[in-house]
């Protein structure tokens, strides 16, 4: 196994034991970038020399006995909405031409303090306002969408061009691309990870979180990211915690909520089969399955749109007036139309959110986690705009990809996607686990137990496919 194929936890163990130096690891991942990136388009910028210098420093520190912890010397990528001092934050948009961040975002600073090494910045659907990331190709099939908006981060992790990455999630933008590329994505509890220095799409829905190859890796990254920062008004004052899950796989006593409504409606049959098979595995590990009814399902899309559209419009108010022609058409027209929404519509969505949070809290008194599909269908072909369900209902691809993710953004509950299989075309399928606010430890325990007892390919197939892309 090449160093770039190691999980974060495996690489960290090897670095700590001095079986692997950060220089070897970074060189291996940069070699993989040279090989695969021309076929993938995951990166906006690769900072190779800066990464090599940081790796040499990390190697020196470890050799001196100054080991900072499991992220020390680990190469990673940041979605290009996340400020890094001295680098542009392009948001994958011409609107940001000439931008240069003057300070690190809170998360970049925390990863730097933990010893992680920045490889580069990854593509987002422009300003995170979309679900496909058209600049980037799916790691498993270059003819299919990467998913979005953190498409570059998910493809980089899936293809071995970053050992881990950060994304942002406003309506599924961590979980959707993670699921479509067969990797793990965690949207933490609203406010657990500070967003200072991260370009906003919608303040009351935005989250930052890790994209990794394993659940254990996501826990290691979350441990470095979580914690209060007064510069983010939503930041929680939760005490520092070590989120790394223990080795136990016994889930006896755990109540897993299986939705009777919403989450299995208009879902591809192969997605449903893979998710139900994964849920059966949780039951085999001792979990008790409890059927639950998802509350207020008729109002989920309306609440998501009622919050996101005017908040995004407000964020972009200035540049929409000064440089509107620099936006891509799909984003520009949504921002323009957002200006025609009323304050009443926005406040109604905020009040609906209050109700929905209360209803979800009641539901989560009966179960410890909810298990559901992450997205209704695997990655579609890049030219597909709509999906037609067997009852004749037509849905836009973006609406379909947001549909099962939005509840966790509206309510702020944590949500984890874990790869649990593939469809007949070989495209990955994700299981979504949702939990109580600040109960990331339970989500991570369940996801880790699943991965330990049913390990997936963790991207090995990805690497061989991308090395020899089909014409």
């Amino acid at each position: 196994m090449q160093p770039h194929e190691l999980s974060l936890a495996e690489a960290a163990d090897a670095i700590r034991a001095r079986r692997l130096s950060p220089v070897e690891l970074v060189d291996s991942v940069l070699g993989r970038v040279e090989e695969a990136e021309p076929h993938l388009g995951a990166y906006v910028t690769v900072a190779a020399e800066q990464a090599r210098r940081a790796a040499a420093e990390a190697e020196h520190e470890v050799a001196q006995g100054c080991y900072r912890g499991p992220l020390h010397g680990i190469p990673m990528a940041l979605k290009d909405l996340i400020d890094v001092s001295g680098m542009p934050t392009t948001a994958s948009s011409r609107v940001r031409a000439g931008h240069r961040a003057t300070a690190d975002s809170a998360v970049a600073a925390r990863l730097g303090a933990a010893g992680a090494i920045l490889l580069g910045k990854t593509h987002t659907h422009e300003f995170a306002f979309g679900l496909t990331t058209p600049q980037t190709r799916n790691a498993w099939d270059p003819g299919r969408v990467a998913g979005g908006s953190s498409g570059g981060s998910a493809v980089a992790v899936a293809s071995g061009t970053a050992t881990f990455a950060l994304g942002t999630d406003t309506g599924g933008s961590i979980r959707v691309p993670a699921a479509l590329n067969g990797v793990v994505g965690l949207k933490p509890t609203y406010g657990l990870v500070p967003r200072h220095g991260v370009t906003s799409l919608s303040w009351s829905l935005d989250h930052v979180g890790p994209i990794t190859r394993t659940v254990e890796d996501a826990a290691l990254v979350l441990t470095a990211l979580a914690g209060h920062d007064p510069r983010d008004p939503a930041s929680l004052s939760a005490p520092a915690a070590d989120y790394r899950p223990g080795p136990a796989t016994d889930l006896t006593g755990l109540r897993v909520g299986l939705p009777r409504t919403y989450y299995f409606d208009h879902v591809h049959p192969q997605v449903e089969a893979a998710v139900r098979s994964a849920v059966a595995q949780l039951e085999a590990l001792g979990a008790q399955l409890v059927e639950v009814d998802i509350p207020m399902t008729r109002y989920i899309q309306a609440t998501q749109w009622g919050l996101m559209v005017p908040e995004a419009g407000s964020y972009h108010e200035g540049s929409l007036r000064t440089v509107p022609e620099r936006y891509q058409e799909d984003v520009r027209i949504l921002l323009e139309a957002s200006e025609l929404m009323s304050a009443g519509d926005y406040l109604r969505a905020q009040r609906a959110r209050t109700l929905m949070r209360a209803e979800w809290a009641r539901m989560l008194e009966r179960v410890d986690v909810i298990a559901a599909p992450t997205v209704p269908m695997p990655a579609v072909r890049a030219d597909e705009q709509t999906v037609t369900w067997p009852d004749g209902t037509t849905e836009s691809v973006s609406d379909a990809y947001v549909r099962l993710c939005a509840p966790a953004n509206i309510t702020g509950v944590p949500a984890l996607t874990v790869p649990v299989g593939h469809d007949a075309a070989g495209m990955p399928i994700g299981l979504q686990l949702l939990g109580r606010p600040l109960d990331e430890p339970t989500l991570l325990r369940v996801g880790h137990a699943y991965q330990q007892t049913r390990p997936g390919p963790r991207g090995h197939t990805v690497r061989s496919r991308v090395s020899s892309p089909s014409p």
Partner: protein, 69 residues
Amino acid sequence: MSAVELTPAEAARWAARAGLVLPAERHAAVAAVADHIHRVVAVLRELDLADVPPAAAYRAGQEEHDAAA
């Protein structure tokens, strides 16, 4: 077109009232997208929101409301 849907000219006028001058060739498309958004979010008018406050600022870990849908 229903009575509440925007005409292209109305979309342009509403945008102008918000301080956004739309080029003429965009009026129809913006009106269509604005109407689509309106149809989606108008569903929320079915809710009896009674005294429920907005959740513009909140803590995900705290529950303090007991209003019913």
